[in-house]
C-alpha cells in the first residue's frame, strides 16, 4: 500500500467521520486538527499548575476577586482574598525567571539583590502594595498564559528573552500616570520588553489582565514570525487596522482565558469616565457604539475613529461571537477549540494586515482545523456587526491634492522633516474601504520615516483633510527625513493612495 493511498484513506475516514457526526446531530470541533489535551488546558485555565514554588496572590485582582468594586489596594480586607498560586518552570527557586521570562522592577539592569526572593517557607509572599508582589504576579500570570498558548499547539519564539519591568523607570513627573508598553524590538536584536508604569490605589502591576494583554502582543508577533502585522504602526503611524487587530488579539486572549469576556476592571479605576467596576473594554454584546463596524471605522473629521481601541473592541466582539458559537457546540471544550482556531488565524495575518485579512484567515483556519463547519458563523460574526460581506469596487480613484510642507517633527537637528498637507476626496457613490496614504522615495534622496498612515473607511462624497486650519494635525500624515546638507531641489516624492476596493493611485511631488 503506497503512502498516497494511506493518506487518501485517512482523509476518507476523516470525511466519513465528519459526515457521520454531523448527521448524528453532534457538532465537530476537531475533524482536521490534532486533538487537544483538554485536561492540561483546563488545569492551566484554572491555574492548577504543578511546581515546587508558590506565590501568595489575589487573582486576577482585588476587585474581581472580591466583587467589591470600591476596593482599593491598601484596604485591609484585600489580604483575605489571597491564595497560593504555583510558579512553574523557575530556573532557580530563589529568582522569578526562567530561560525566557525575566521579571525585573525598574530596568533590565536592576541589581539582582533588589529583586523578590522567597520567604523561609519557599513562598513569594508580599503585601499587595509591595512592588515585589507585582513581580510575583507578573511571573505567575505570564507563565500561565505562555503555557496555555503552547498547550494549544503553538510554538512561540523564545530566541530572545522577555524582560518585564513591573514599575519601569523613566516615568513622567506624575508617578501616578498609568501606562504599559510592549516593545518587540522589531529590528531583530535586543530582548522583548513589557514596561508597566504608575503607582496608584489600583496599580496596573497588581492586575493579571495587564500582563495577559501585553503578552498577547508578543504572542501575535511570535506566531506571525515577526513579519510586521502592524509594521506601519511600528514605524510611527498614528492609526492602522493592523494596530487595532493587535489590540483585538491582546484583549481577546485575556478575555477568553479568564472566561470573563471583559478586560481591565481594576485598571479602569485610574481613568476618568469609568464607573467603579466598569471594565476598560468588553467583548460581549453591549448597547454601545462598538457593536457596529460603521461606528468605529468610518472616517470622522474629529479623528475619533483614528483610534485602535475602538476598532479593536469591535474586533474582539467578532472573535467573542465565534467563541460563543463553538462553546454552544461543546460547553466543556469549545472555548479551547475556539482559541486554537483564532490563534491559528492570527498566524496567517499578512504584513500591515486588515480586517478583511482577518476574516479570510479565520475562514482558512476553520477550514484546516475544523473542516470549515463554522464558515457560516464566522461570516455571520462579521456581517452581523456591520462588516460588509462584499464591497463593490470604486468607479474612480480618490482625488488627492497635496503639498509638501516642513514640520517641526524632525527627530534630530541634522535632519529636516517634511510632511504632506492634503485633501483626499471620495467622489464615488460607494464607500472607500481602508484608506491609506504612503510616502515613497523611488530614487532615494530622503528616508520615508513615518511611511504610511491609515484613515479607516471614507464614505461617498466625504473628504479627509490633514494639515491646515481646522483640519487634522500633521501627526496624521506621513513624514520624510532629509539631510540638511542635501539640496532638496529635484527630489522625487511619491504619495501612494491605497484602498481595498479599488486600484492604488500614485501622485508625484517634486521637492
Amino acid at each position: 500500500m503506497t503512502v498516497t493511498t494511506l493518506k487518501i484513506m485517512t482523509r476518507f475516514i476523516h470525511l466519513a467521520t465528519l459526515i457521520g457526526l454531523v448527521s448524528c446531530g453532534r457538532l465537530v470541533t476537531e475533524c482536521g486538527g490534532a486533538p487537544l489535551n483538554i485536561e492540561r488546558l483546563q488545569a492551566i485555565q484554572s491555574t492548577q499548575f504543578q511546581s515546587n514554588s508558590k506565590a501568595a496572590l489575589v487573582t486576577p485582582n482585588p476587585l474581581d476577586a472580591s466583587g467589591n468594586v470600591y476596593l482599593q489596594a491598601l484596604d485591609s480586607v484585600v489580604g483575605s482574598f489571597t491564595g497560593a498560586y504555583f510558579l512553574p518552570g523557575l530556573m532557580n527557586s530563589n529568582r522569578l525567571e526562567n530561560n525566557f521570562l525575566k521579571i525585573r522592577i525598574s530596568s533590565i539592569s536592576d541589581s539582582l539583590d533588589s529583586l523578590a526572593t522567597p520567604n523561609s517557607s519557599g513562598e513569594f509572599s508580599f503585601p499587595i502594595s509591595d512592588i515585589r508582589y507585582g513581580q510575583a504576579m507578573a511571573y505567575h500570570s505570564l507563565s500561565a498564559i505562555d503555557s496555555y498558548v503552547e498547550a494549544l499547539g503553538f510554538q512561540t519564539d523564545k530566541t530572545r528573552p522577555l524582560y518585564v519591568m513591573v514599575k519601569a523607570e523613566g516615568s513622567t513627573s506624575n508617578p501616578a500616570e498609568v501606562n504599559a508598553f510592549y516593545n518587540h524590538n522589531i529590528f531583530e536584536s535586543g530582548p522583548r520588553e513589557i514596561r508597566i508604569f504608575g503607582e496608584t490605589q489600583h496599580s496596573a502591576w497588581q492586575d493579571r489582565d495587564i500582563y495577559w494583554h501585553e503578552f498577547g502582543h508578543y504572542v501575535l508577533e511570535s506566531v506571525t514570525g515577526s513579519r510586521g502585522v502592524d509594521l506601519a504602526g511600528d514605524l510611527g503611524a498614528s492609526f492602522t487596522e493592523g494596530s487595532a487587530i493587535h489590540e483585538c488579539f491582546a484583549d481577546y486572549g485575556t478575555e477568553s482565558l479568564s472566561g470573563r469576556g471583559y478586560i481591565g476592571r481594576w485598571l479602569a479605576r485610574n481613568f476618568e469616565g469609568y464607573a467603579p467596576g466598569q471594565p476598560l473594554r468588553v467583548a460581549y454584546d453591549q448597547s454601545d457604539e462598538f457593536q457596529n463596524f460603521r461606528s468605529v471605522v468610518n472616517f470622522d473629521p474629529t479623528g475619533k475613529n483614528l483610534d485602535r481601541y475602538r476598532l479593536g473592541e469591535w474586533c474582539s466582539r467578532v472573535l467573542w461571537d465565534i467563541r460563543t458559537q463553538l462553546v454552544s457546540e461543546n460547553q466543556e471544550e469549545g472555548r479551547y477549540y475556539a482559541d486554537r482556531t483564532i490563534l491559528a488565524a492570527a498566524s496567517l495575518l499578512k504584513r500591515n494586515t486588515s480586517i478583511s485579512d482577518l476574516k479570510e484567515a479565520l475562514l482558512y483556519a476553520d477550514q484546516e482545523l475544523n473542516c470549515g463547519i463554522h464558515s457560516r458563523s464566522i461570516s455571520a460574526a462579521f456581517t452581523s456587526r456591520g462588516f460588509p460581506e462584499e464591497v463593490s469596487n470604486l468607479s474612480k480613484p480618490l482625488s488627492f491634492q497635496g503639498t509638501v510642507v516642513g514640520t517641526n517633527q524632525s527627530p534630530t537637528e541634522d535632519l529636516r522633516a517634511f510632511s504632506v498637507q492634503f485633501v483626499l476626496r471620495n467622489s464615488n457613490s460607494q464607500t472607500a474601504r481602508n484608506v491609506r496614504i504612503a510616502i515613497e522615495a523611488p530614487n532615494g534622496g530622503f528616508s520615508p520615516y513615518v511611511a504610511e498612515q491609515a484613515y479607516g473607511d471614507l464614505g461617498p462624497g466625504k473628504t479627509i483633510t490633514v494639515g491646515g486650519t481646522g483640519a487634522l494635525p500633521l501627526d496624521y500624515s506621513v513624514i520624510g527625513l532629509v539631510s540638511k546638507t542635501v539640496n532638496l531641489r529635484g527630489i522625487k516624492v511619491l504619495i501612494r493612495i491605497k484602498i481595498e476596493n479599488g486600484p492604488e493611485s500614485v501622485n508625484e511631488v517634486i521637492l
Binding site: 487518501i8 530556573m91 501606562n179 504599559a180 508598553f181 516593545n183 506566531v223 528616508s447
Partner: protein, 236 residues
C-alpha cells in the same frame, strides 16, 4: 430514501477524495530540482528550531523530521515559483521553523555578506500533508550594497553629533553594541547599512527605550521603532 442518501454521501466522499489526491500530487516534485535549489541558495545556517522554555510539564522538543520535511517542501515551493522569488546571487537565506496546529511555519531571513536585510522575509506554512501556502513574501531584488568598513562611523561617533532628543539607552547590551544590518524601507528601493541601536527619546512623556537605525556612513537617523503603548488617548 436511506439508500439514496448513503449513495449521495459516498459520491461526495469519492469526489472530495479525488480532489485531495490531485492536490497532493501537484506538490510532489523531483528531488533533483531541490538539490539545484540548495546549490543555488547558499544557506546561511542550518535549519534551526526555536528553543522552548524549561516548560511547564509540556513536551520540550518538536519533531525534527517534521521541520526538515517542511523546509524541503518550502524549498521546492520557492524553486518552482521563480517569478515570485527571484533570489539574487548576492543574497543568502537562513531558515527557521515553528510548529503550529496548521502545520509548520517556515520563515526565511535574507542576508547579504552576513548582514541581515531587515524587512525582507519570506513566510510559508506547510500543512500536515505537505501542501505549501505562501503567507508573506517581502523579498524583492535589490542591488548589492557596498560593505567597506573603512568608511564606517562608530556608534559613539554618531551620538557625539546627535542632539539631546535621542540618547543611547543605558540598557544596551554588549551584543547590541555593534549590531549592523541592512535596512530596506518598504517604501524605498535604496538599501542602507545601519546600526541598530536602543535609544531613548528624551522628548517622550515616558522614557521607554526603542530601536532606531542610523546610517553607518553618514550617522543619520533612518528609521525608528515605536514601542506599543496603551492608554495614550486616555490621560488621567
Amino acid at each position: 430514501m436511506r439508500n439514496s442518501t448513503a449513495r449521495h454521501l459516498l459520491l461526495i466522499v469519492l469526489i472530495l477524495g479525488a480532489l485531495v489526491f490531485f492536490r497532493e500530487e501537484k506538490s510532489n516534485l523531483p528531488f533533483k530540482e531541490l538539490r539545484e535549489l540548495e546549490a543555488k541558495i547558499k544557506w546561511k545556517s542550518q535549519p534551526t528550531e526555536t528553543q522552548m522554555t524549561t516548560d511547564y510539564n509540556l513536551k520540550t522538543s518538536f519533531e525534527n523530521d517534521l521541520s526538515e520535511k517542511a523546509i524541503s517542501s518550502a524549498n521546492q515551493f520557492i524553486l518552482n515559483n521563480p517569478k515570485l522569488f527571484s533570489i539574487q546571487k548576492h543574497h543568502q537565506l537562513a531558515v527557521k521553523t515553528s510548529s503550529n496546529p496548521l502545520g509548520t511555519h517556515v520563515s526565511y531571513q535574507v542576508y547579504q555578506d552576513g548582514f541581515a536585510i531587515l524587512g525582507m522575509n519570506i513566510d510559508l506554512i506547510v500543512n500536515r500533508v505537505g501542501l505549501v501556502r505562501l503567507v508573506s513574501n517581502q523579498y524583492r531584488p535589490i542591488d548589492r550594497i557596498k560593505v567597506d568598513q573603512a568608511n564606517w562611523l562608530t556608534v559613539p561617533e554618531i551620538f557625539q553629533d546627535q542632539t539631546i532628543k535621542f540618547k543611547l539607552s543605558s540598557e544596551r547590551s554588549e551584543e547590541e553594541k555593534d549590531n549592523v544590518a541592512i535596512w530596506i524601507s518598504p517604501n524605498s528601493s535604496q538599501p542602507e547599512l545601519v546600526y541598530v541601536v536602543s535609544v531613548v527619546d528624551t522628548q517622550q512623556k515616558q522614557k521607554v527605550p526603542g530601536q532606531a537605525l542610523f546610517s553607518v556612513i553618514t550617522g543619520q537617523l533612518i528609521a525608528r521603532h515605536f514601542p506599543r503603548s496603551e492608554f495614550n488617548e486616555k490621560p488621567l
